[in-house]
C-alpha cells in the first residue's frame, strides 16, 4: 500500500524493530537484526507518534506542535516514512 494513496494508514514499527534511546548519546535509535539506525530529529519526532495514529493525524500533530505548513510537512513525513518502509523498518496497517 503506497503511502501516497492512503493517508488513513497507520504506520508502525515493523516486526522485530525497536525504538530506543541510546544512553551513550541520548539520541533515538532503531534497532533491528544486524542493524542500528541513528534517527535524525525529524524521523524521531515522526516515529514517536506512530502509536496508532494515521498518517494524517501524525502530520496534523506535528504541524500544530511546530506551527508549520501542513502541505510541506506532509511531504517531509511521507518521504521519511517511505524511506523507512523501503528498509522494512516500519509497516503500514
Amino acid at each position: 500500500m503506497p503511502i501516497e494513496s492512503a493517508d488513513a494508514v497507520q504506520p508502525r514499527l515493523a516486526k522485530g524493530v525497536r525504538l530506543q534511546t541510546d544512553s551513550a548519546t541520548g539520541k533515538s535509535v532503531l534497532l533491528f537484526p544486524e542493524g542500528i539506525v541513528e534517527l535524525n530529529e525529524t524521523a524521531q519526532e515522526i516515529l514517536s507518534r506512530c502509536n496508532g495514529r494515521t498518517f494524517n493525524e501524525i502530520v496534523r500533530a506535528l504541524a500544530e506542535e511546530y506551527d508549520s505548513d501542513v502541505a510541506a510537512l506532509a511531504a517531509d513525513v511521507r518521504e521519511t516514512l517511505s524511506d523507512l518502509r523501503r528498509r522494512k523498518l516500519i509497516e503500514l496497517i
Binding site: I36, R86, E91
Partner: protein, 376 residues
Amino acid sequence: MTAPRPYALLAEVTYRCPLHLSVLLEPCSCPQGGGYSDMHALNGELTTDEWKRVIRDAATLGVLQIGFSGGEPLARRDLAELVHAAREVSLYTNLITSGIGFDDDRISALRDAGLDSVQLSFQSDDADLADEIAGARAHRRKLDVAAKIRAAGIPLSLNFVIHRRNIDRLPEMIELSESLGAERVELANVQFYGWAFLNRAALLPTQEQVTRAREIAMEAKARLAGKIDIFYVLPDYYETWPKPCLSGWGQRYFTVNPTGDVLPCPTASSAIPDSRFENVRAHAIDWIWRESESFNRFRGTEWMPEPCRSCPQKEIDFGGCRCQAALLTGNAANTDPVCTLSPNRARVDAVLRDINSSNNHAPDWTYRVNPKTLDC
C-alpha cells in the same frame, strides 16, 4: 587514537555444534575453525556468570546489540538466561542458529526471555548428489523450525551462504524465503576464510554466475521492498574496491569467543597468524577495547601503508579487510588485495582467471579435509 564506542557484540557462546558430527551433511565454515570435542570446549567455556558479566560490561561500554552465535548457540542450555541478561541491559538480542536443536520448549523459553529475532542459516546444497538424502533431511528440519519460529511470533531472518554450487538457485532461495514469511534475507556469498579458503577453487562462482545473481537479487529487492528486506553480499574478489570490513578495526564491533578471548574480528585469530588477544578472565573489557594492542593495532589510519596512506578512500573503506590481506599477501597490514590500487591485486586476478578459464573444471568439493579445518 582514542577509541570510539562499540555498537555490537558477537557472543560466540560455544564451539560445540551437532553438525560437527555430520560434516557430509552440512558443510559450513565457521570462521573460528572448529574441531573441538565437547570435552575440550566445555572445559574452557565461559560460565553463565562470566557471560552475564561480559554482557553487562559490553552494555556499559555502549553496545546496543548482541548476536548469540558459535558453534551452535543452542548447544548451551543457559542460552535463555543469557538472552534475559542482555534484555535487562536493553540490548537488542539476535540468535544466529542452524536451527538444529530448536524445539517448541526452547523456542518459547527464548521468546519469554525476550529474544528479539532469529537468524536461521541455510547452507546445505542439496544439488550435490552424494548428500542428497542427508541434505534434504537437514533442510526439512530447518523448514520445520522456521515455521515454529514464525508461530511463536519471533521475527525471522534467513541467511543463505552462496557459492558456485548453489548460486544459480537464488530464485528458489528467494521463493522459499517468501513462503516461510521471513522478514529479512541475507544472500551472502561465502567469505574466503578457514574451510572456505581451502575450498576456494570449488566455491568461487564464475563471472557469469555473479553477474546473473546480482541482477536476480536486485530485481527481487525492488519487487519485495517493504515485504522482505533482501541483503545481497557480493563475492568481493569480483569487486574493484575492497569492502569496508567491520566499518574499521576496533570501531563498531567486537567478538567474544567461547573461552573469553576478545577479538576485533571473528576470523582474525585464524587468519592472522601473529595475532594475540586478551581474555575477559584477565582484563576488563573496557581496557581491552580501548587500550589493548590487539584493538589498537589497525585502529584508525595511522597503521596504513601506501597506497592507502595517501588515498582519499581510506576513511571510507579503511583499507579493506585485514584477514584477507593476511591470507593473500602474508601480511595483515597490507592493503586488501581486492583493491585495484593494491600492488597485490594480481593475486586476486590470477584466481579469477583460473576460475573463469573455459577449460576449468571445478575441483571436487572437499568434504573430507582434515576435520580440524571443518567446522560449524
